[in-house]
């Protein structure tokens, strides 16, 4: 790797982002050695979509990875050695993700694997990682059975069992909605989330009057929304990603729906505002991070992200960024032995994290709990902290 290029970039980077040095210090997890990492690099592997229908998520991942590595390596890397990654394109396809898994497990330089994106692609590869004893660290894998693949399978993906009651709280307790209509992505994630949400909403005394599952590539929701309207809800809940969430929001008014909308945190993206336009004004969401939050983890990430890419970060780049911080810490703790890295997971505590604040793994579930969240509402085309106002009931 050409060292000059790397240092030029990091110099530029320091001048651009003011509070960055502080962030770097914090990320390195110890007294910052101002020296840049040199020597033999340490590698992690990534299996994820760079082409194909899910490629946009892989592209966001890459931005999160690169940003985290810039910071880590500028602050001395892992015990003075730079951290690097190999990104193999799986197209989110199990046939390719298992081939990639074989490639990674046979490559002694790969210390830990991150990904894949969807459950079919990730979980098809799990047995290979488990048998070979290489940690598969899934950071978008919320499928409840993902970490049951074995003791080498870990995840810091947000647990829906934790996330959905928060959303239900926002809708039912804070916004006082009593008759909810739920629209959800009909995937393993959307379905699991919907089931937990419905239960949580009922426990809080609300009624769920309609649930509609839609396919990820759907764009037309008018008839679905008429069905929702006929159920006469007083609030609409979206268990969606940003593109489909924006599409639904745009079609609410044309079918005559004016009820308040509450969406899960995964709609948090500048793209949600861009694609939704005026229609997403007034959408409430319980996001896992918010750029204006004063927490140092968030500020370190957001300021650096803006400086490097001249755009706003979204949830998927934040997940990727967090995943690298975890990889760094477990490699630091476990060294270059794959089993020792697995054993390091329960020992590393309070890893700085954009999503969790401080992430600590539960050795039983091999997951992280304690997701951070803020109540937001879209105001004049931007996400803003929810000021506690309850939207006037329409209908």
């Amino acid at each position: 790797m050409p060292q000059p290029a790397l240092s030029r970039r990091s110099v530029l980077f320091h001048t651009l982002a003011g509070g960055l040095a502080l962030a770097c210090m914090m990320m390195s997890g110890g007294p910052a050695s101002a020296a840049e990492a040199a020597g033999e690099p340490l590698w992690f592997g990534v299996s994820g979509p760079l082409t194909g229908p899910s490629a946009q998520y892989g592209a966001q991942w890459k931005k999160g990875f690169d940003l985290a590595l810039d910071q880590i390596n500028a602050a001395g890397g892992v015990k003075g050695r730079p951290l690097r990654y190999v990104f193999e394109d799986s197209q989110n396809d199990p046939r390719q993700s298992i081939a990639i898994a074989q490639k990674f497990v046979a490559d002694p330089k790969i210390l830990i694997e991150l990904g894949d994106f969807s459950s079919p692609a990730s979980m098809a590869a799990s047995p290979i990682y488990q048998r070979a004893g290489l940690v598969q660290f899934g950071f978008t894998n919320s499928h409840p059975d993902f970490t049951k693949g074995g003791d080498f399978i870990w995840s810091n993906s947000i647990s829906q069992a934790e996330e959905q009651p928060n959303v239900a709280d926002f809708a039912v307790t804070s916004l006082k909605l009593k008759r909810l209509a739920v629209l959800h992505l009909n995937t393993d994630w959307g379905r699991t989330s919907k089931d937990i949400f419905v239960k949580a909403a009922k426990e809080r005394g609300a009624e769920v009057v309609a649930t509609e599952g839609y396919l990820p590539d759907e764009k037309d929701f008018r008839s679905t929304l008429v069905r929702v309207r006929e159920a006469n809800p007083d609030g609409i809940v979206l268990i969606s990603y940003y593109a489909d969430g924006a599409a639904i929001a745009r079609q609410l008014k044309p079918v005559g729906l004016n009820q308040p909308v509450v969406a899960v945190g995964s709609v948090y993206s500048p793209k949600f505002l861009e694609l939704g336009g005026e229609a997403v004004n007034g959408v409430h969401t319980r996001a896992n991070f918010f750029p204006a939050e004063p927490r140092p983890e968030v500020q370190g990430f957001v300021a650096a992200y803006r400086a490097k890419y001249q755009e706003e970060p979204d949830a998927f780049s934040a997940y990727a960024y967090d995943a690298v911080l975890v990889a760094q810490r477990v490699i630091e703790e476990g060294g270059t032995d794959r089993t020792a890295i697995r054993d390091a997971f329960p020992r590393v505590k309070d890893i700085p994290s954009v999503i969790f604040g401080k992430a600590t793994f539960d050795p039983q579930t091999r997951r992280v709990s304690g997701v951070r969240n803020v109540k937001l509402v879209v105001k004049d085309g931007a996400f803003a902290l929810w000021d506690g106002s309850i939207p006037a009931a329409t209908n």
Binding site: A99, A106, S223, R227
Partner: protein, 612 residues
């Protein structure tokens, strides 16, 4: 809000027409191309996507006024259409009919991937400059864009009608559509006609992309595939090659979907659409709006596949190759290589199955991934819920796939040519959607977890060598069986059906029985393949075997040579291997794959090993 006397049904009807309107824009272009060149143009969806991006450049980067944007998009996409015709399709005019079909698939890969590289895979907003007033109808409202889309759809159909009926070039187009050779003999410049048709249809496709992009305020490089699929379905409902029928078919498809949602819920939407398609294909194969006494469509089966001299490997060579393949893991220990080849053998099972029905019997199936899914679910559920040992569950899954697959395709047995392809495509989608919705059996979108691996005498066959050997041994067994079958009396009968089904029937061949037999054998092979995949993957859900897998299988079969057993294996090895070989090229690898595919079709349209 207006209290409606019709209840929500008025709204469902309006919504059906609104979305039907959007399908119509694509269906018209597809119908025009099919009418003239008897080609289902899978690249049309990609042209639509290109139109959306040209529009995006005009609107957001150049800030052109709307009419100029429209003209630029139409001109750009018209030019693209002419280029596609000239570079991608004209060199193939004497190749078998299947080659251009495959070329359009290759072109769409190249276009989609180029767009992704140029514009990034992120979706982008495409704001409209139209006024924002809305007209209230029923409980909802429609806007200026809805009316503009309807206007463009109906207006372009009207213009096309006038063009075809009253202009000299239009006459030439119709003459070419009726009989290409005769038209050429009468002095019609057939190439010019084709180029014109592609340019017009593509210009229309591009404008539709722009309009739909504005409608949803979203464009992305992958928007074409699903949209193209709906356009194809819509034009089949109306009757292929029938421009007014395409509009009526689109509106009807929109209504069917909307009422389907109204009655059963959103997750049944596409299920309803595809079941309707199959019903229409079976009951009115010329489409709902075909003229009553139209000639039956050209028997495409006979001309679909060109005869060629297949490359026949001598027996000793086949045995040597098989022995070498079996011995490979003793020499090569790299798990990645073995896994990739193991994947290739698993896909070769799918290709073997497809080459039997598509190549030998001439029933080109575009829904073969459905058989994999049936086999995979049958075997996993037998092993997990019924406690059947995996070793027994796999062949049982093959039987289930054979029985279910044949039963599902049975209504399509009376269809020919492209209609079979579309019917099987619908069957494939139906299988996926039933898996998604039949939760009590299949666990719906959550999928099946913890599928046990294949094991013999309590020892799981999961190590590096076994992921290679198990598929290979099964593949060799089926390949040997299929070769014997093709050389027998049965194989000759099946090929007779492909060459001329009327002649075959007059010789006393019961078409349905033989087709049924072929689909049963094919279903068994693919079912076993799917079952093996499930036991290797350990987790499956409805997204594990999506529609592009069917396309990939067809590509493998055509690449190897239709009906050719060795060709299917080679095709699978090449197409599973190529993307892995290009791995170093990261984002560029699918583009390279598309280009290689196009070159192969161009220079060896009968397949690498030739049609049997």
């Amino acid at each position: 809000m207006l209290p409606t006397t019709f209840g929500p049904w008025l709204d469902y009807t309006i919504n059906g027409l609104v979305i039907g309107n959007i399908y119509a824009l694509l269906a018209v272009g597809l119908a025009l191309i099919f009418g003239v060149s008897h080609l289902i143009n899978f690249a049309h969806g990609s042209v639509y996507m290109v139109g959306a991006y040209i529009g995006w450049l005009c609107v957001t980067k150049l800030a052109l006024p709307l009419p100029v944007t429209f003209v630029t998009v139409a001109a750009g996409c018209g030019l693209l259409g002419a280029v596609i015709e000239r570079v991608g399709l004209r060199p193939l005019r004497n190749a078998p009919r299947i080659a251009p079909l495959l070329a359009t698939i290759g072109l769409s890969v190249v276009l989609d991937q180029s767009a992704q590289l140029l514009f990034s895979p992120d979706p982008r907003a495409l704001p409209t400059q139209l006024p924002t007033w809305r007209i209230a109808i029923g409980g909802g409202s429609i806007g200026a864009l809805d009316l503009l889309i309807a206007g463009v759809g109906i207006g372009s159909a009207g213009l096309l009608y006038g063009f075809l009926r009253f202009t000299k070039l239009g006459w030439a187009v119709r003459a070419t559509a009726l009989d290409r050779d005769a038209a050429q003999q009468c002095g019609v410049d057939v190439d010019k006609v084709n180029r014109t048709v592609f340019a017009i249809a593509s210009a229309l496709g591009g404008v539709s992309g722009l309009l739909v992009g504005m409608y949803y305020n979203t464009i992305d490089p992958n928007m074409g595939f699903q949209a193209g699929l709906k356009g194809i379905v819509a034009q089949l409902i109306g009757g292929v090659g029938n421009v007014p029928g395409a509009i009526a078919g689109s509106l009807l498809l929109g209504l069917i979907e909307s009422y389907g949602i109204a009655l059963f819920g959103t997750s049944y939407r596409n299920l309803f659409a595809f079941v309707a398609l199959i019903l229409i294909l079976v009951l009115r194969p010329n489409g709902l709006f075909a003229r009553a006494r139209r000639l039956p469509p050209e028997p495409l089966t006979g001309t679909f596949i060109a005869p060629s001299r297949p490359l026949v490997l001598p027996k000793w060579a086949v045995w040597t190759l098989a022995a070498l393949a079996l011995a490979l893991p003793l020499v090569v220990q790299q798990p990645y290589l073995l896994q990739t080849l193991g994947n290739a053998w698993l896909y070769a099972l799918l290709a073997l199955s497809l080459t039997l029905v598509a190549g030998t019997v001439g029933q080109v199936s575009l829904g073969h991934a459905g058989l994999l899914a049936i086999g995979a679910y049958a075997s996993s559920l037998l092993a997990l819920d019924a406690g059947v040992p995996v070793l027994l569950a796999v062949p049982l899954a093959g039987l289930v796939a054979a029985a279910l697959g044949t039963a599902l395709v049975y209504p399509a047995f009376r269809l020919r040519g492209h209609y079979v392809s579309i019917a099987t495509l619908a069957v494939g989608e139906i299988v996926t959607l039933v898996i998604l919705n039949w939760e009590s059996l299949t666990r719906g979108p959550i999928g099946v977890t913890g599928i046990p691996p294949l094991s013999v005498a309590g020892k799981p066959l999961v190590s590096g060598q076994w992921v290679y050997w198990v598929p290979l041994i099964v593949l060799l067994a089926f390949a040997a069986l299929q070769s014997r079958l093709l050389n027998s009396h049965l194989g000759r009968t099946l090929r007779a059906i492909r060459e001329d089904d009327v002649a075959a029937r007059s010789y006393g061949v019961d078409l349905n029985r033989y087709k049924g037999l072929a689909f049963a054998v094919a279903g068994f092979i693919a079912g076993v393949g799917g079952a093996l995949m499930a036991h290797f993957y350990s987790y499956i859900n409805h997204e594990t075997f999506p529609a592009p897998v069917s396309m990939l299988a067809l590509t493998m079969v055509i690449l190897g040579g239709l009906g050719n057993v060795a060709g299917a294996v080679l095709g699978a090895a090449v197409l599973v291997g190529l993307p892995e070989l290009f791995r170093a090229a990261a984002e560029y690898r699918m583009l390279i794959y598309g280009v290689v595919l196009l070159l192969l079709i161009r220079f060896r349209p009968q397949g690498l090993l030739g049609t049997v």
